[in-house]
Each structure stands twice: as structure tokens, then as C-alpha cells.
């Protein structure tokens, strides 16, 4: 039996379960906020073209618009200044085999519940590895915070006078994952791969800076990470093939052994 035949067999007999890690694209789902004088990403918007009516009698369809970084989305290396000159750094040029990879899910939900500004550290990762397994090369590291359970946009965005407060990795953790674990990328449940206050880290937005600088990827606004085992899941995350795209909304699926 070929590997794929084994896979199909496992799939059809219910031994492999699909977990949807994607938030629904809608105008209500919170988007990224930048200072108002800067260029702004389009939020997700949808306009009806026709709905079995005088605009098109037998069919229903919409036009939608959004920025590349809307909803559950993929960040390509070219998104950041540090990754701008790398080969194969955009959504159309990334080798497609990178869109499927194993996932290591680090449960930080207790820590994030206690502290919205929680920073994932190298020590935390080493301790996690001691309990579970060493993070394998070419894997997604997904930071589970249960942030996606904050259905209220106010709580999800979590702004105060000093800006956004959401968890993310610290500088050393990112450097460790890139340099010593050779990961495929880093994924989060909040609105960025970096913490809400990561502008104040050195360098600012370290996950963007080091991951993309090393040709690695980002996934953000993920959900259902609580349905994944710490190890053993496989993530399928293929962005739209936008020419020289810096990222794209996408459907992220995880395959889990049941």
C-alpha cells in the first residue's frame, strides 16, 4: 500500500480527524489597527452582486474586498523589511511543500489568562520540550492562548491607553525557534504573531523580524488550537497564489490522529 493509499484509508475510516483552525471572514471580525496617518489595510467587506433578483435572476454571488492580512491569514517573508531580499519570499514563490507541516502546540492558555501581555520565553519552550518532545525541524510552532475564545471584539483586541495587550513570543524565544529548532513558522490566535506590546521589544516585533528575516512564515488569528494534541498534528496552510503577495487570508486545516 502506498503512503497516500494508507492516508486515504485512515481518513475514510475516521482515524484522521480534520480540525478547522480558521476564523470566519466577516466584516465583524476585528482587523489590524495602525495609526490613522499611515496607510491602512482594507477590512473585510462584502457586497452583494445579485441574489436571484433583477440583478441576476438565477444566481447569488458577492464581491468581497480585504487586505492581504485579514482574518486568519498567512505572513510571507517579504511582508517584513528583514525578509525583503530573500529568494522565494512571496505567496506565489514559496515552494508548495512548505504549506504542509507538522505542528507543535505550546499551551500557554493559563499564562495568557493571567497576563494579557504574557511573553513566551526560551525557558518555557525548553520546559515544554522536556515534557513532550523536541520540536522537529520544518514544523509549525503554534502558541495556544485560547485568545480565539474571546468572541467579543473589545476583549479580543484588548486596547487601553497604551495600545493593545495580547500575548506573543519574546526575542530569545523567536531566535531559539529559528536558530536552534529550524521551524517552518510561528502561529498565534491573536491578531499578530507578535505580542500587542511588541513594538517596545528590541528589535520591535521580533517574531516578524527574525522569522521573516530567516525566510519563515507566520499564521495569525487561528482558532481551535485547543482541539490539537501537543504533538502529532499536521497543518495544511496554503495561501492564495498572489503575485508577489506579502500574505493572504486562507483556510488553515489540521489533521489529527484519532
Amino acid at each position: 500500500m502506498t503512503a497516500l493509499a494508507q492516508f486515504v484509508n485512515a481518513f475514510s475510516t475516521g482515524k484522521i480527524r480534520v480540525v478547522d483552525l480558521t476564523q470566519t471572514l466577516s466584516p465583524e471580525f476585528p482587523g489590524i489597527s495602525l495609526p490613522p496617518e499611515m496607510g491602512q489595510a482594507w477590512p473585510f467587506r462584502i457586497e452583494e452582486v445579485s441574489r436571484y433578483d433583477e440583478r441576476g435572476p438565477a444566481w447569488y454571488w458577492n464581491n468581497f474586498s480585504c487586505g492581504e492580512h485579514t482574518g486568519t491569514h498567512f505572513d510571507a517573508p517579504v511582508h517584513w523589511i528583514s525578509g525583503k531580499d530573500l529568494p522565494n519570499n512571496a505567496t506565489d514563490s514559496i515552494p508548495p511543500e512548505r504549506f504542509i507541516g507538522p505542528a507543535f502546540v505550546l499551551d500557554c492558555s493559563k499564562e495568557a489568562a493571567r497576563d494579557a501581555d504574557f511573553l513566551l520565553t526560551k525557558e518555557f519552550i525548553l520546559e515544554w520540550e522536556a515534557q513532550h518532545a523536541r520540536i522537529a525541524p520544518k514544523s509549525w510552532v503554534l502558541m495556544r492562548t485560547d485568545w480565539s475564545k474571546r468572541r467579543d471584539p473589545v476583549a479580543y483586541q484588548n486596547y487601553d491607553e497604551e495600545g493593545q495587550h495580547t500575548p506573543g513570543p519574546d526575542v530569545e524565544a523567536v531566535k531559539f525557534l529559528v536558530g536552534e529548532r529550524d521551524v517552518l513558522g510561528f502561529g498565534t490566535e491573536s491578531i499578530g504573531t507578535d505580542a500587542g506590546q511588541a513594538y517596545h521589544l528590541r528589535p520591535p516585533y521580533p517574531c516578524h523580524y527574525y522569522m521573516h528575516g530567516a525566510g519563515r512564515y507566520g499564521l495569525q488569528c487561528l482558532t481551535n488550537l485547543d482541539q490539537l494534541p501537543p504533538t502529532g498534528a499536521v497543518v495544511i496552510a496554503a495561501p492564495l497564489k498572489i503575485r508577489n503577495g506579502s500574505g493572504s487570508p486562507l483556510r488553515v486545516l489540521a489533521l489529527v490522529n484519532d
Binding site: P27, S33, G39, Q40, P43, R45, I46, P153, V154, Q157
Partner: protein, 410 residues
């Protein structure tokens, strides 16, 4: 005026009717002045005679050189009558109706609508031209002396858009102007004020203060989101008597000092398409309530800009979006008029806000602009040019639009 009783919700809402609307082209001169809140009559350039009704040639010397000139707003009531019967559909539903013959201090004698507090003739009166529900100018006589409850007069309320006891939607409560508007409307005794705010996860300065105003209900409203506008309209449009669309997107760029189209597109999306979305979703329900008792649907206010008349190149793309909104507001005006709902366009000069930071004064203060908007509703004015800068631009534009274009691009 007591708060009108709530309408029995199972009774039919009467369809709006309009007073007689036909006017000759020359008579529209009266409407043009009334739209600005001015009282102007034709005056003969040769012999100085003031004319009424509007005409092609001087009634005294037959000169055709008749100019629209501001006139003294005073006169004397010679005789009055009360109409108890009319074949006109509009007046039939509003009887009895008080009319009188007024001798103007500037010359002509004319038939005028009479405010209820005017004493029987002979009596000193003040004269206004006001727009009626058909959008045409009519002559209205007011009592000689101003008093606080004057606006409550049943007949006068047919000509104004007084927010008192009405329900208002202010589309953006985040800006200083939005907050000043809400306060001014609350002071004008609105019954309810829905206040929109986009991106509700970002709490804005002044939020707590707004929430404390008893009439205020804050609602999530982003005019770039069709679904949001449609759903809010489904919820409240059947109750909204006045829309004040003050949502605007303003960045200070011309063509050459900003790459790309994204900022200009965002301006169009809020300033132009935002109005279109609101008009499509709130317009129909308001049109059906144009004659819904003493607190009917009555007005739609658009925050435009004096830059809608002529482009101000340092704010070039913003000017263009406001010109587009102005054009669309004229379409809205035509579509709302059959229901007697007035579209009020406001053309301020630079507002003293974040996006005019680098413009030197004079800039209109948000509170002054809010006061002008509420004042226009109470006075029944349709085109509002609030403040010195707007007035000066208007005068220059009326005098010579080409000259203004050159002056603004200097």
C-alpha cells in the same frame, strides 16, 4: 409644546403630501435665497422698486434689470383669515390654517402664512422666506418679538425641521464635532439620539461623557460596512426622524504628495459611498414617515465641506470626495423631496480638528459648527455655510468660480 403622544402603533401611517410646488424659473430666485436663510426680493436697478411676486419686468417702469437683493424683514399685518376648507391635499390635512395680508416695509403687499402668536391686525410682524415641504420658498410672518416657545407653533413646524421631540441618528460620535452635535441636539430637546461609532473596540475620548446623556444610545456603525448599515437600518430606520451624517474621512494630501490611491479610496468609501449606503438603507423608511404626525421624519443632514465647491489642492483628494458627496446629496434631495424630508447640506470651512492641524486660524470650532447645524434645522435652512471662512468662500465662488479656483491653487 408638550411631548406629542406616542402614536398608536396599529394605526395607518398617512402618506406624505406636498403643498403646491410649481414655480416659474424666475420665482426660484426666492427659493435660492430661502435655502440659505436669506430674505431677498427682486429690486429694479433703474427705479429701485421692490417686486413681488417675482417677475420678468419691473411693475413700475418695465425695466428688465431686476436684481435679487436682501430686504428689510419687517412689515405690518393688514388683515388675517383662517382657512377651514381647501381642495389642496396638503392643506386639507392641516386645517385650520392661518393666513394674512402683510404690507412689507420695503414696499409690496403679499399673502403670508401667519404664526399663531401674531395678534389680530393691525400688528407689526417679521417676515421670512422659508422652504415648505415641497422645497419651495413661501412667505411666513412671525411675531414682532422673539420668544422661547415660538418654534413650537404648529404651522411653523411644517416649515422647519426642529429636532425638539424628534429622534436623531448621529453617524459618528467619535469626533469632537460628533460629540458637540450630540450635546447640542440633547439641549434642543431631542427625544432620542442614536450615536454611531466605528471600530467599537477602540474606546474613544469622550465616550463616558456621551453615555451619560440620557437620550443617547451608542450603536456600532461603520459606514464602510454595508451589512452593518443595513442591519442598523433594519433595527431603527423606522423610528429615525433626522439623520445627521457627520462621518467623514479626511487626510491632507493632494495628488503628488501621496503615492497610490488607498487614502483617496478610503475618503471616497466614507465620504461618498458611506452616504450612498446610509441613503439606500435609511432613506426608504424615512420617506414613508414624512407625514407621521408632529414628530415626523423631517431632515437628512450631510456634513460636506466648502471644498466641495472648489478644490483646495493641499487637501485635494478630500475635496474631490466631498464634491462627489455633494453631487450625491443633490440626488438624495430630489428623492427625499416627495416625502417632504429636507436634505440639509453643510459646507464648513476647515474645522478645528486633528486633520486641519497645520492650517492657520480661522477654523470653525466643532461646538460652533454643531450649533450652526442645529440652528439650520430649527430655522428650516437647506444650505448651510457656517462661519466666516465658509461665508467668504461662498461669496467668492458666487462672484466668480474661476477666480476662486486660481486663488485656491496659488
Amino acid at each position: 409644546m408638550e411631548r406629542p403622544k406616542r402614536k398608536n402603533p396599529v394605526l395607518r401611517t398617512r402618506l406624505p403630501t406636498l403643498p403646491p410646488a410649481a414655480r416659474s424659473r424666475v420665482a426660484l430666485g426666492l427659493t435660492a435665497a430661502a435655502a440659505l436663510g436669506r430674505f431677498e426680493l427682486q429690486q429694479c436697478r433703474d427705479c429701485g422698486t421692490v417686486q413681488y411676486p417675482p417677475r420678468e419686468a419691473c411693475q413700475k417702469c418695465l425695466s428688465i434689470l431686476l436684481d435679487w437683493k436682501p430686504q428689510r424683514e419687517t412689515g405690518e399685518l393688514l388683515a388675517q383669515t383662517v382657512l377651514h376648507h381647501s381642495n389642496d391635499l396638503f392643506f386639507r390635512e392641516r386645517l385650520p390654517w392661518r393666513l394674512g395680508l402683510v404690507k412689507l416695509d420695503c414696499g409690496p403687499t403679499l399673502v403670508s402664512h401667519l404664526h399663531g402668536e401674531i395678534q389680530d391686525a393691525p400688528a407689526k410682524v417679521r417676515i421670512r422666506t422659508m422652504l415648505d415641504r415641497a422645497g419651495q420658498a413661501v412667505i411666513v410672518a412671525l411675531p414682532d418679538k422673539e420668544n422661547a416657545d415660538m418654534a413650537d407653533d404648529r404651522q411653523l413646524r411644517e416649515f422647519t425641521c426642529d429636532p425638539k421631540h424628534r429622534k436623531v441618528l448621529v453617524t459618528d460620535g467619535k469626533t469632537a464635532l460628533g460629540q458637540a452635535l450630540v450635546k447640542a441636539l440633547a439641549k434642543a430637546q431631542c427625544e432620542l439620539i442614536w450615536v454611531g461609532h466605528a471600530e467599537p473596540w477602540k474606546k474613544f475620548a469622550g465616550f463616558d461623557e456621551l453615555e451619560k446623556i440620557p437620550q443617547v444610545t451608542l450603536v456600532a456603525l461603520d459606514v464602510t460596512d454595508s451589512k452593518n448599515v443595513r442591519e442598523l437600518a433594519a433595527e431603527i430606520a423606522g423610528k429615525v426622524d433626522i439623520v445627521v451624517n457627520n462621518a467623514e474621512y479626511h487626510r491632507s494630501f493632494g495628488i503628488a504628495n501621496r503615492q497610490g490611491v488607498e487614502t483617496a479610496r478610503a475618503e471616497m468609501d466614507v465620504n461618498y459611498f458611506g452616504l450612498l449606503r446610509l441613503a439606500q438603507d435609511f432613506g426608504p423608511a424615512m420617506r414613508s414617515r414624512g407625514a407621521d404626525g408632529r414628530s415626523s421624519a423631517v431632515a437628512w443632514v450631510n456634513l460636506l465641506s466648502i471644498y466641495a465647491l472648489a478644490n483646495f489642492p493641499p487637501h485635494g483628494t478630500f475635496s474631490a470626495s466631498k464634491a462627489a458627496a455633494h453631487s450625491l446629496a443633490q440626488c438624495l434631495r430630489a428623492e427625499m423631496r416627495p416625502a417632504g424630508v429636507r436634505v440639509v447640506n453643510v459646507f464648513p470651512g476647515p474645522i478645528d480638528d486633528e486633520w486641519n492641524q497645520l492650517l492657520p486660524p480661522p477654523k470653525i470650532a466643532p461646538a460652533a459648527l454643531a450649533k450652526a447645524i442645529v440652528g439650520a434645522l430649527r430655522e428650516g435652512i437647506e444650505d448651510v455655510y457656517p462661519g466666516d471662512v465658509a461665508q467668504e468662500w461662498l461669496a467668492r465662488w458666487r462672484d466668480n468660480p474661476k477666480a476662486l479656483e486660481r486663488e485656491l491653487s496659488a
